[in-house]
Symmetry: C2
Subunit: 365 residues, 2 copies
């Protein structure tokens, strides 16, 4: 691509995850970091120094400054979710393309504001979920789509947990109702719901029923919850998300003829060695179930990858932005549609919890 298609990134906020994105941007072709910001100029300077950012990267003491910077094409927004709608819309209205951390918004109404602003201003939207962009994810989808091997999808279970400890539960922005309010459901529950919808090609469930007895912190933010999801054709999914148990990123997908599992959805165990794995099993002789030779050990599939998944994400975003920027193509709406479906289900789970664990129907439109 010609030089003019290089996408110039600004980052709003020096969050922990911003460290990773600085590296991802530096590794992706046709991407360059040109600005970072924090509410405190001092904090932004320390971040720039610690990350060894080149002098060409402008360091700002306000998010506003990045949004106003005419040399910024696209912003990465890792701010607390409650601030997403404000800053995403501000950026979009200045013509910036947006790579927005998950959970993308506090609810669907806020996300609609963001997506409508993107539409009105002709800019690209993508949420910051990395695993969707790993080559492993493509290979898994191929396995699920293989009717001979996998059959018809029936059950999905996803469990996303980690245990950041009492200090986090008390003081993290993920635990403050004015900054996040979605807690574990928004943070890791996002991955659970997303993995489930990804598996069913983003077909929305008909209803959602949260498990009784979610756990909340003193300010009423979700620390731990779970839900079942139900489709008209009998497909069923369940998920748990929790800040109270040891780290787990499991997804199990069962079809009539095969199964697919992974235990490291969000960050592949072996990504730093250049690959990701998943296990898959099929073809069994049911006649032998009770004689004990019934079940083949799952096959481990190794998917090599040239880049880590965060780099793949940036590359995909940069490609889409490049098409808008230099080829004057329309932004691709598919990522916004996918994010919205995750948010719709997330909202329904939250509503089910708030309504005392009643079933919530999801409206199709």
């Amino acid at each position: 691509m010609a030089n003019e298609t290089v996408v110039r990134f600004g980052i709003l906020g020096c969050a922990q995850i911003s460290i990773k994105l600085c590296k991802s941007i530096s590794k992706a072709l046709n991407a360059t970091l040109v600005a970072i910001s924090s509410r405190s100029l001092e904090k932004a300077k320390v971040f720039a120094a610690e990350q060894g950012l080149p002098d060409t990267v402008r360091v700002y003491g306000s998010y506003e400054a990045v949004v106003e910077d005419e040399n910024v094409d696209a912003v990465y927004i890792p701010l607390p979710p409650a601030l997403h709608v404000t800053w995403a819309v501000k950026a979009v209205e200045r013509g910036k393309h947006v790579l927005l951390e998950k959970p993308v918004a506090m609810n669907v109404a806020e996300l609609d504001q963001i997506l409508e602003a993107c539409e009105a201003n002709g800019v690209q939207f993508m949420d910051g979920t990395m695993w969707l962009h790993h080559p492993r994810t493509t290979k898994m989808k191929e396995a699920l789509c293989d009717e001979q091997r996998f059959g018809q999808l029936k059950l999905i279970h996803s469990c996303m947990t980690y245990n950041p400890g009492p200090e986090f539960l008390k003081n993290s922005i993920r635990m403050k109702p004015d900054l996040d309010g979605l807690g574990a459901l928004g943070d890791i529950g996002w991955y659970s719901i997303q993995s489930i919808l990804w598996a069913v090609n983003y077909e929305l469930p008909k209803s959602v029923l949260a498990f009784p007895k979610s756990t909340f912190n003193e300010e009423g933010v979700i620390i731990s919850c779970g839900s079942s999801l139900h489709w008209e054709d009998g497909k069923c999914a369940t998920f748990h998300c929790s800040f109270l148990t040891y780290v787990t990123f499991d997804v199990t997908i069962l079809g009539t003829k095969g199964s697919l599992r992974l235990h490291d959805l969000t960050l592949p165990f072996e990504e730093s060695f250049g690959y990701g794995t998943f296990s898959e099993s099929s073809e069994i002789d049911y006649g032998n179930i009770e004689s004990g030779r019934w079940c083949p050990k799952p096959n481990e599939h190794v998917v090599e990858t040239e880049f880590c998944q965060d780099v793949w994400m940036v590359k995909e975003f940069v490609d889409l932005v490049g098409k808008v920027k230099s080829l004057k193509m329309k932004p691709d709406k598919k990522w916004g549609v996918k994010s919205k479906k995750v948010q719709i289900v997330l909202d329904a789970v939250k509503e089910s919890i708030q309504r005392g664990y009643q079933s919530v129907e999801i409206m199709m439109n």
Copy 2:
């Protein structure tokens, strides 16, 4: 042990699983098969010939004959669950010790009849669940009890499925309300509930809530269902059981500090090679979560075993029966207590389904 402590087995019914038990009995010390039966003498003779049973094994054309045989110390009952209470009680009243296939009864009331008969007649009861007796199970329990490694138990998920096909769903005894009626819930759901209760040291949950939309066959027998289980202290478990998806025997147990998983609960993949495995993970540096070095790949633990789990089960049963028979000790009630707790939860799940997926409280007594 002296020769007189040999336990002489009779088998009621030439089911597929009886083939396995004939072999287990032949491999266990101090156990010998002395009688088999079927409702049809012809069928019993064919079974004896096909399995190459020695001439010393008496072959009967009725279950009654085994129960009346004075040379039988203990019976193995793999009959359809609806027949368990009748034949278990008959056998127990003739002084036979009972190894009873799961699900042990159609409901707790029936199981109580069986257990009361065992108590009154001084005979040993054990259900026919094999996995509980594998040395791997002991090792897993040690891992779960290690406070430093596993912490406090928080979440359990168990998924037990297989897909025996339309012929089975129509004609299997597991699909006939008069013979079974518990369907997938009694067959593989038994394992799910048992694995969950085993993990929590058989502490009964406070409530049970079946997932909406179980699947039934034309005669109203459960083909597929699931449930969440809830304890007073916030522990939560979920399970799926289904005759509609590819074979899966997964259990995932999450604590505050560690996790434990296996994908072959009921029949270890590698049992025929003399071992079973489970994976376990703990010790993580949460500071590195977002930099991508957060999660250690689970460790695979290999547990060697001299015998397959079915042989271990028979050995355990024979040891207990031997103590009653030759040492005149009282029967050990622990296996009856464990089976009853599984049945209590199973009944509650069935009740939740029957009551339109309402929460069912479990009475403690």
